[in-house]
Symmetry: C2
Subunit: 161 residues, 2 copies
DNA sequence: CGCTTATCCGACCGATTGAGTAGGATTTAG
DNA sequence: CTAAATCCTACTCAATCGGTCGGATAAGCG
């Protein structure tokens, strides 16, 4: 498995926030985690861990206290899934020895010094590119729309019933 | 980490076989695992596990007994890295719930019945596509050539010194 | 004030997997 | 026969995953 359920659950959480927090993401009531947990049939206490990462990454904002909850920090059209998945799973590296250094360059820890490349670097670089392109090229808004169309099974209670 | 060292080591093993088994892959002496282990500085006993998978997948052939070893089962130009990585890591699924059924279609185990899609399917489908495209579009021959050019540090003893 | 609802935080736990070791059986060249 | 190699099974050790639990803090409401 490439990604764990952290990414799976976390993305579903984000989609749920996107569906419910429609309209202006600044206004409207925040969505409580327990509502999401119930809708997606996921353990609440586990979601708490995931949403913490999303919050630290600045992807969602929280409101504490009664009637509190979470909102998307930006409109869904401006949230790329690369950020979401990275927040949940950590840096996207196809391989242990594969680091991304600040300037978008890529590095393999087997390259002792200078810029000698280990045999497999070409491959992992391509894979890395394929993944990040797929993730970065998908916005949360697309997933929300997709969920609305195909998975109408959970019609977002309290809105357009 | 997306892939484990199984893929890393296994690919390096394949590259090593490609470099040493040059010329006709049918002729020439087979390469012993201990030679590869020494050249790549990898534990021999661990490589045995990996090469077993490659053999079962029909990617390498073996010769038992003294002076035995391994050869590529096909010329390196006809070995796609998707097959190699799949042999080592198992089926490439970005996510637990993501299966590939015979007809190239894709399935999410959350789609209880019918063809309802869960919210995240669109994303994982794209990621899966990105990975398999990158892997399938790279041949072992490319990696061998890349290794020859960039990583001349191990000049394949006994040939074109 | 005090209760309820919620986010927050960290410790803990069982199961699985990854990475590697160990030991031996089998096959074959010399 | 012996040395060199593949083959096969079992085992260990550590990390991670998925999840639980208990409690602290914060805010709305009567």
């Amino acid at each position: 498995m490439l990604f764990s359920t952290k990414a799976e659950y976390g993305v579903r959480l984000m989609v749920e926030l996107g569906r419910r927090g429609r309209g202006d993401h600044e206004t409207g009531e925040p969505v409580s985690l327990s509502a999401v947990a119930e809708a997606e049939v996921l353990p609440l206490s586990y979601l708490e861990h995931l949403v913490a990462k999303l919050r630290q990454a600045g992807l969602v904002t929280s409101v504490r206290g009664a009637h509190g909850g979470y909102r998307l920090a930006r409109p869904a059209t401006e949230i790329g899934m690369l950020d979401v998945v990275q927040a949940l799973e950590g840096p996207i590296a196809p391989m242990e020895c594969f680091h991304e250094v600040p300037e978008g360059r890529v590095l393999c820890s087997h390259e002792s010094d200078g810029d000698r490349a280990c045999a497999t670097r070409l491959l992992w670089t391509r894979v890395h590119g394929g993944i990040t392109k797929a993730l970065a090229g998908t916005t949360l808004a697309e997933l929300v729309e997709f969920a609305d169309q195909h998975g109408a099974q959970t019609p977002v209670a309290g809105r357009a019933a």
